[in-house]
């Protein structure tokens, strides 16, 4: 369903008009003609590195190899003389004026730490250098001097408390990032030894040996993702002519030590005018097959280019195969051959030089398809989209594994120097929706339906003429524009940028990597300042893998329907505050032998957690994780305070994005310590956190129930009816909302005093009334002020699960509204009964009954309903059958007794066309029953099922008479009287002969029956008219038939069904002609 409440006056403009509007506002803004200018604004004149400071926002970076630029003095230069190429980094970015920059950073070398063996002194270093050089030369033969330096330094391991004593670590600097893993392996396998006069064996654990070269540099140079960099004049060199490697407008070389990074605050919180390209392709598939790049041509590519921060695209164009009629407000470029089209598009992308490339499902589809297609057509100069010349763009298989999101197989396409932001995976990660088709996502976030043209029709349109291709182009442009609008609406760029800035990782990491890298980045940054070094555990090394720990438990709910206010007390940022309060960290974890060796006192020097682990207190050593958390939470407080003061909408958005990123980051620290397959798990920390949490919930219950009693002068005895993770629900036994709020506030303050700072119990809201169904399942009206409720809040109640029919969510939602908002339990039960009656009498709209499942692959082992159905549909019509990757929509239909469940799924359209009876019982028993009983049981008690699901309202059952299949071939359909349903003798509907409307007995009632039939026909006719004119309006054309097949649209099935309903109704009306 479209967004709940839309402002009345927002025009439902069709897309073409919108294109025009874009053109309109643009010219008024004084921009240049979009048809003419693709390229970035030109530089004012030649760039002068000697006098001009270069300031740019870096958006992306990669590792490279480079010769030393003439006149630049690299560190360790003497060791590099025989190796012409050295590791370097490339930062790409944009200046405030919108000029693109590529910056080669030289002179930063990778390194790792190893603990120095006992008695190892600086005089042993040359021997170790020789040994390591010998070993590493075999690993990488083209590097003449692998070890550039070994220095001894005083550091501490991040793991465990050792009495604040530093020890000697050896920092081994290497000439090449590829030397790090072999070196680490040599140590881990114990193969590094010094023999002879000085005899040393080395520890097998290395430190900081598992961090990428790029991130290593960004950490050391304090460069966060999306941060502004500054190169002062005369500290860098401009690249010109043949030395240029990239397509950037300004390409420079600089020494690592001369890069100045700005912390993203004040003026440096701004965003550069980044260029965002959003595109969509159409290909002409064959009937019954998903488009194959080896066979099917790319026929159109539509593009929208927007400058970040501006609301509308300034380039709007579409590249078409074959001629195409003009589209107002857009630049149509037609090509006779596909190769020309592809090549032109490639040149377009290079010329408009986007910083961010976005679209919907572009990684797995559009990019991959384009690259494969160009390869098939041998358009060899096509695949160059990055900023580095001569680097071919390729699609690679990627496997994305994350505890939070599960495993996904996908393609990745890297465009050097540009961010590739595919909205589909981003949506899947950040929003829980019923469906992730572009239609569904647009309906949800933009509140509008999108025309959906089936791919079998696309080929027809392509094979038509100028005008049909134009139609397709309008559609394609729309699909290119929608991702851009979603980006804007959801503030994706800003929110992701702030996340990059807060956690320090490059923007692309946020899209392609999991949660851990963000914590690792912060941990390294923090550890650096405390001379801590981080051990490089082998993944899964740190702890026995199967050691599981207890998660957050809950106070057993006292189920029921509460018609009194229930106060909810919440621990603010529970897990982060526990870690801060109890100083839980890698660095404070202390073992029993250390406790006794250092003679630490329990309570003052260290505490024992409920799990039995010991952590030193802040008097001994302040933990690193608590320090990170304090920074994050402090920064969030500042951001929220600034947000309140800020009036500029754009700056507001940045601040809001930042506070959100800070919150997410703070919460992910706990998860990081508990990730057993992670880089640095520490179950002592994570299990202690949850144990503290459980204790605190219990303790809160105890404190509240002891204090708020009649005996202490309170109006009633308080009861904690439920507690979960970080909140406790209290029934104070008082019915006055304002009083409950006062008590809640007081109780929160009172309980907070019993906990260590900064743990804070907050009173946030009152639920009234409150329906507690089970653990993690409840609903209530949410009040923060005594005079007016804020919203209806539900947890864990069936609303978005996609294997449920929409009817379920609708019924449950309506019931909860009636129960909670209207306090009308009777109304709710009446509604349920009506709905069940409607369902059994076949009156519920089909779209409410459609279930959908993605067709992942066709070789499922077990027979699954949607897979079987897809097969059947393919046999009927290969053109319209769902393909792998599509969602299969189906309804459950009646089948013969004993039919397997998978045989009962049927295509909703087929069901409508053939009048196939729906298995309404299935919907009642398997879909509605359980959730209904769940919410009504606390109210109606034991008899819920009999009252609600059985009874008079379930007696009348109307089943559609199928027009196809089985016995119907042999059945003779006899017309029945429209009055009493008695069969009319001597009439056979099948013969097509006119049939009387009523039997002789009903003849006197003819006028009345006629009126009834007229009314039915009027309803159907009006519905037909309204539904089809709506589709006509949505597609934005009056003179062309509606092609849209968007199954996500709420009227898709209705408009199909109404065609049949109206025909039936008017046919019945015509029967009266023969009865008068």
């Amino acid at each position: 369903l479209p967004g709940s409440s839309q402002p009345e006056l927002v025009p439902r403009s069709t897309f073409e008009d919108h294109l025009e509007e874009l053109a309109l506002t643009q010219t008024r803004a004084g921009d240049v003609d979009p048809k003419l200018t693709w390229a970035r604004p030109a530089l004012d004149g030649p760039w002068d590195a000697a006098t001009q400071d270069l300031v740019f926002q870096q958006i992306e970076a990669d590792e490279s190899f480079s010769p030393c630029p003439a006149g630049m003095q690299l560190p360790y230069a003497s060791k590099l003389t025989r190796t012409p190429m050295h590791p370097a980094l490339r930062f790409y970015g944009v200046t405030r004026d919108g000029h693109s920059v590529a910056c080669h950073v030289h002179g930063f070398f990778p390194y790792i730490y190893i603990p120095a063996p006992q008695n190892f002194t600086d005089q042993h270093i040359p021997m170790l250098v020789d040994t390591l050089n010998r070993i590493l030369r075999q690993e990488k033969k083209d590097v003449d001097t692998p070890v550039l330096a070994i220095e001894s330094t005083q550091k501490e391991s991040l793991m465990n408390f050792h009495g604040n004593r530093k020890s000697t670590f050896l920092k081994v600097t290497l000439a090449h990032p590829k030397l790090v893993p072999p070196l680490r392996r040599q140590f881990e396998t114990g193969q590094v030894r010094l023999d002879g006069a000085a005899h040393f064996t080395f520890a097998t654990l290395t430190y900081e040996a598992n961090i990428a070269y790029l991130l290593r540099y960004m950490i050391d140079a304090d460069i966060a993702g999306m941060a502004w960099l500054e190169l002062r004049h005369a500290t860098y060199q401009l690249r010109t002519g043949a030395h240029r490697e990239t397509t950037a407008q300004i390409e420079v070389d600089v020494l690592a030590s001369n890069v100045i990074a700005h912390e993203p605050v004040d003026e440096w919180a701004a965003m550069a005018p980044l260029r965002i390209l959003s595109f969509d392709i159409e290909c002409a598939g064959r009937k019954g097959a998903f488009p194959d790049p080896k066979i099917d041509p790319v026929i159109q590519i539509a593009n929208m280019v927007t400058v970040q921060g501006e609301t509308q695209p300034f380039i709007r164009n579409v590249f078409t195969l074959g001629s195409c009629a003009a589209i107002v407000g857009s630049d149509v470029r037609s090509y006779a051959s596909e190769a020309e089209l592809l090549l032109a598009w490639s040149e377009f992308v290079q010329e408009c030089d986007p910083d961010i490339v976005t679209g919907y499902n572009i990684l797995n589809f559009d990019w991959t398809y384009l690259l494969d297609r160009a390869a098939t057509l041998k358009v060899t100069s096509f695949p160059y989209f990055g900023r580095v010349k001569q680097v071919k763009t390729e699609a690679k298989d990627a496997r994305f594994q994350s505890r939070a999101f599960g495993a996904r197989e996908s393609k990745t396409v890297a465009l050097d120097g540009r961010i590739v932001l595919d909205l589909l995976p981003l949506m899947q990660r950040e929003h829980k929706l019923r469906s992730y088709t572009l239609n569904a996502v647009c309906a949800h976030f933009l509140g509008e339906q999108k025309e959906d043209v089936h791919h079998s029709i696309i080929t027809e349109l392509q094979n038509g003429n100028d005008e049909t291709r134009r139609r397709l182009a309008v559609y394609c442009l729309k699909d290119a524009y929608l991702p851009q609008r979603l980006l804007d609406k959801l503030m994706c760029i800003i929110n992701q940028s702030e996340m990059a800035r807060v956690t320090g990782v490059p923007f692309n990491y946020l899209l392609s990597r999991g949660q851990q890298i963000k914590v690792i980045s912060q941990l390294y940054r923090k550890a650096k300042g405390h001379d801590l070094v981080i051990p490089a555990f082998k993944t899964g090394d740190a702890a026995p893998v199967d050691e599981s720990y207890e998660g957050a438990t809950v106070i057993e709910p006292v189920r029921g329907y509460y018609d009194v206010p229930i106060a909810t007390l919440d621990f603010a940022s529970l897990y982060p505050s526990i870690m801060m309060a109890h100083n839980l960290c890698y660095t404070t974890l202390v073992t029993k032998p250390v406790i006794s060796a250092l003679k630490l006192e329990e309570g003052t020097d260290y505490v024992t957690t409920p799990m039995g682990d010991c952590f030193v207190t802040a008097t001994q050593r302040k933990g690193l994780l608590p320090a990170i958390l304090e920074d994050l939470i402090g920064a969030r407080k500042r951001a929220k305070a600034d947000l309140k003061k800020e009036t500029d909408p754009f700056k507001k958005a940045v601040l809001d994005g930042r506070q959100l990123a800070l919150k997410i980051s703070a919460n992910s620290v706990y998860g990081f310590t508990g990730a057993t397959v992670g880089k640095l798990p520490c179950l002592e920390v994570s299990s202690s956190v949850t144990a503290f949490g459980r204790d605190m919930i219990e303790r809160t219950k105890q404190l509240v129930e002891e204090r708020y009693v009649l005996a202490n002068g309170y109006p009633a005895n308080a009861h904690v009816i439920y507690g979960d993770t970080d909140s406790v629900m209290v029934k104070f036994g008082v019915s006055d909302l304002a009083k409950v709020m006062a008590l809640g506030k007081e109780a929160a303050e009172y309980v907070t005093k019993h906990f260590v700072r900064p743990i804070q119990l907050e009173f946030e809201k009152v639920y009234f009334p409150y329906l507690l169904i089970n653990k993690k399942r409840y609903a209530g009206l949410y009040w923060t002020r005594p005079d007016e409720w804020d919203k209806m809040d539900t947890k864990g109640i069936e609303t978005v699960r996609r294997d449920n029919a929409p009817l379920v969510a609708h019924v449950i939602d309506t019931c909860l509204r009636k129960i909670l908002m209207d306090r009308d339990v009777e109304g709710a039960t009446a509604f349920v009964k009506n709905t069940i009656a409607d369902l059994l009498q076949n009156k519920v709209d089909m779209s409410q009954l459609v279930i959908s499942k993605a067709l992942a692959k066709t070789d499922y082992a077990g027979k699954q309903a949607h897979v079987e159905l897809a097969d059947r549909m393919r046999k009927r019509d290969p053109g319209s059958a769902p393909n792998v990757g599509d969602r299969v929509a189906y309804v459950i239909v009646k089948a013969s007794k004993g039919a397997a469940a998978y045989e009962k799924a049927e295509d909703p359209i087929y069901v409508l066309e053939h009048n196939i009876p729906i298995d309404t019982r299935y919907y009642l028993d398997n879909q509605l029953a359980k959730p209904l009983v769940r919410i009504f049981e606390p109210i109606l008690g034991e008899s819920t099922e009999s009252k609600l699901l059985n009874g008079d309202h379930t007696r009348t059952v109307i089943v559609a008479a199928p027009t196809t299949g089985g016995l119907m071939k042999f059945a003779v359909k006899t017309a029945t009287c429209l009055g009493c349903k008695a069969p009319l003798k001597g009439t056979k509907a099948a013969t097509g002969a006119p049939t009387a409307a009523v039997c002789d007995y009903c003849r006197p009632k003819l006028p009345v029956l006629y009126q009834k039939q007229v009314a039915a026909a009027n309803t159907a006719e009006e519905r037909y008219a309204r539904l089809w004119t709506q589709c006509q309006n949505c597609q934005g054309s009056l003179h062309m038939d509606v092609l849209c097949t968007s199954r996500d649209c709420p009227i898709f099935y209705m408009r199909k069904k109404v065609q049949k309903d109206v025909k039936d109704a008017t046919d019945a009306l015509e029967r009266f002609e023969y009865s008068w």
């Binding site: 709940s4 008009d17 294109l19 025009e20 589209i327 107002v328 005008e467 054309s1037």
Partner: protein, 455 residues
């Protein structure tokens, strides 16, 4: 504008002096497409728009050539065949279907959202125009956004076919300088220029069945038509009334059980003295989507016994005593009324004649049958009379063809002072009888008009 109501008094001698009445014959050939047989609903509405454009385009082109001929001769303006061929910086005219995009237009998606509980039901609106309306011109090949102050002057309505003259502006919109509709077809056969032409009567909105249906006034009307009321002059006139049209809203469908027998008895009584033709209207117990099918004669068991009782569709195109007439029960005008500010219904009715179309907002906001290869609502010929039933107030004017005479001042045509020419059209807005108690008599030859008030 209105003729003074005739003073009524009972005639005792009415029955004793039988006179012959001239019957106005009714030829329904032109309404044939309104009688639906073998309805199908697998088609969509695009066909209807397509047919409308095909049908009206040549006429609009002719009208535009006439109107803008002089500027075209000077070479400053040219005709462009397709919307997509408009190029910036040249003044052109194009023909297409107008479409108003209106944020307040009822949207079924909103209704469904409220049906399923997620939104408030959309309010019912008297008017749907707003400042955010956008007008588009569309042909088979594309659409262009129209701009310019002229649009408001023209009270532009969805579904009309027009030629617009102007140029593409820098923003890709089309600045309209002038606009031209098809106008009426030329006169097929000249009307009689004599005083003894046939008279016909029009009444609408009896609403039998509702409590405030004025049965007494209705009875007076029937008696009057029968010649049992009024003076001798009246009688002379009444003998020349060849047909009474009951233009919709005869019976309240909600009270059909009471209303139907009342209506039947009443119409039977009237049909005994004068031919009666009944159209269904928006409240009648009939199909509601246009064209409304004739109410079944069997519903009127008594009245149907009279051979001169006729149930016809709404709208109705017919030849009455050889004069073409167009009659609707009011829905098209009521729907158009939502599109424009102000409440000049007569002006809108005149517009129908400019457009050569009596229901342009069908199917967009006025529900109608999805015709496949025809648009029957296009006026087939120049009518002598356009009657719109069930309007709030009585109003009438003489319409002269404006589209082809660009010097004419539209307001000058409003009065009866101008003697009607053979090609004039009488436009008649008929009030509901329950409200105004009015019978309107029109002389089809001279377009003279008499109103008789009962009550």
């Amino acid at each position: 504008m209105t003729a003074p109501s005739t003073q009524l008094h009972h005639r005792a001698d009415a029955a004793s002096q039988p006179q012959t009445r001239t019957i106005a014959n009714l030829d329904l050939t032109a309404s044939a497409p309104f009688l639906l047989k073998d309805r199908t609903y697998t088609q969509q509405y695009a066909n209807l728009y397509f047919s409308r454009l095909q049908k009206l385009r040549p006429h609009v082109v002719a009208a535009a050539n006439h109107k803008w001929g002089s500027v075209m001769e000077r070479g400053t303006v040219r005709h462009v065949e397709r919307v997509v061929d408009i190029r910036p910086k040249s003044t052109v005219w194009i023909v297409g279907t107008l479409f108003c995009e209106m944020p307040l237009k009822p949207n079924i998606l909103d209704d469904i959202a409220s049906e399923y509980g997620s939104a408030l039901p959309p309010p019912h609106r008297e008017k749907i125009y707003s400042e955010k309306d956008v007008v588009m011109l569309e042909d088979e090949y594309g659409r262009v956004r129209l701009e310019g102050p002229l649009l408001t002057d023209y009270s532009v309505v969805t579904g009309t076919v027009a030629a617009v003259l102007g140029s593409e502006n820098a923003q890709g919109g089309f600045d309209v300088l002038d606009l031209c509709y098809a106008g009426l077809p030329p006169l097929a056969s000249p009307g009689l220029e004599s005083d003894d032409g046939p008279w016909v009567g029009f009444v609408s909105g009896f609403r039998f069945g509702v409590a405030d249906a004025d049965l007494l006034a209705a009875q007076m009307l029937s008696d009057y038509v029968a010649g049992e009321l009024g003076c001798d002059e009246d009688l002379d006139l009444l003998h020349r009334v060849g047909r009474i049209f009951v233009v919709g809203n005869v019976i309240e469908a909600e009270h059909v059980e009471q209303g139907l027998p009342e209506a039947d008895a009443y119409l039977a009584q009237m049909a005994a003295t004068v031919p009666v033709t009944v159209l269904p209207g928006p409240v009648d117990p009939a199909t509601h989507v246009l064209p409304q099918q004739p109410m079944h004669p069997s519903l009127f068991a008594q009245a149907s016994k009279h051979s001169e009782f006729l149930s016809v569709p709404n709208p109705l195109f017919a030849q009455c005593a050889g004069f073409p007439i167009a009659v609707t029960s009011g829905q098209p005008l009521d729907d158009l009324f939502k599109y424009v500010p102000g409440d000049d219904r007569l002006a809108l009715a005149r517009r129908m004649l400019d457009w050569r179309h009596i229901a342009p907002s069908a199917p967009d906001t006025l529900w109608c049958y999805p015709y496949v290869d025809d648009d029957p609502f296009v006026l087939p010929e120049r009518p002598r009379l356009l009657v719109v039933g069930n309007q709030p107030e009585f109003a009438t004017c003489i319409y002269e063809d404006l589209t082809n005479t660009d010097t004419a001042d539209p307001d000058a045509m409003d009065t009866d002072d101008t003697p009607p020419s053979p090609s004039s059209v009488r436009v008649l807005l008929l009030p509901e009888f329950t409200r105004a108690k009015l019978l309107v008599l029109v002389n089809l030859a001279t377009l003279a008009i008499r109103t008789i008030h009962f009550g």
